[in-house]
Symmetry: C2
């Protein structure tokens, strides 16, 4: 059961000059299939189930193209691989420092922070991202061992 490819995605590919290949489509579908925020490795494992010939490098390359044309978003917590996400709305994610799981913090936004920052620095701001880390309810009490 192949997922319906949204019109906007095809459009973004057309405008960017990149081609929507089967591998890139597969990466996108893997991202849709996984509820959380998968790492490149996670995506790779999912994609490999359907097509065992794809290489991890191809997944990385596809993810970078998808991010470049604005179809997906990536976030990075230290001591953990980069996570990818189809949700392009501004939203806050928190990562459990024990199990590594990422989930959303609802009802909290960056507010005026972004414009405050732009006003107070001579830099040309290209990205602001709030990294939040904690211990999820399931891991409380348990001992370390995240990845």
């Amino acid at each position: 059961m192949s997922v319906v490819m949204e019109k906007g995605i095809k459009e973004k590919f057309r405008m960017s000059g990149y081609t929507l290949t089967s591998q890139r489509r597969a990466v996108l579908e893997a991202l849709k299939a996984s509820k959380g925020h998968p790492s490149a490795e996670d995506v790779y494992l999912l994609v490999k189930k359907k097509n065992p010939r794809v290489a991890l490098g191809t997944v990385y390359q596809a993810l970078s193209v998808l991010e470049e044309i604005g179809v997906i978003d990536s976030k990075h917590w230290s001591e953990s691989p980069t996570r990818y996400d189809l949700n392009l709305e501004e939203h806050l994610d928190i990562r459990c420092r024990r199990c590594g799981q990422v989930s959303e913090v609802p009802n909290v936004g960056l507010g005026d922070l972004e414009s405050d920052i732009r006003r107070n620095t001579p830099y040309e701001v290209t990205r602001t991202m709030l990294v939040v880390e904690g211990v999820c309810p399931g891991c409380r009490g348990k001992e370390p061992a995240a990845r």
Copy 2:
């Protein structure tokens, strides 16, 4: 000319049980000497000038001890090594995506964000950090090539 070691630092070492060795002291002084936010490698290079026998691994270990006992702070931007800082006050840093230089954004704080986050997630929040990235005035116009 050795830098005067603050009382608070010695105290923190005593309370933690770690010993304030010459290597750890050297790391601390390197951090004081460098104005910006040096990476482990930067610190290593500085420390090596005085004592060429220190190993990079030792610098990493010292930095992690210093952070653990609350003497220094670390920040991490993706695609760039972790940066270390003696300034323990809450402050915003911005990193140039071209040259990698880190500098402070004055007059902007996280405000009530932190408590908003705690209110809206079942996680036990251990850390929140605003990652800001941009292009510094000196790099504007120039082509990529950061590290």
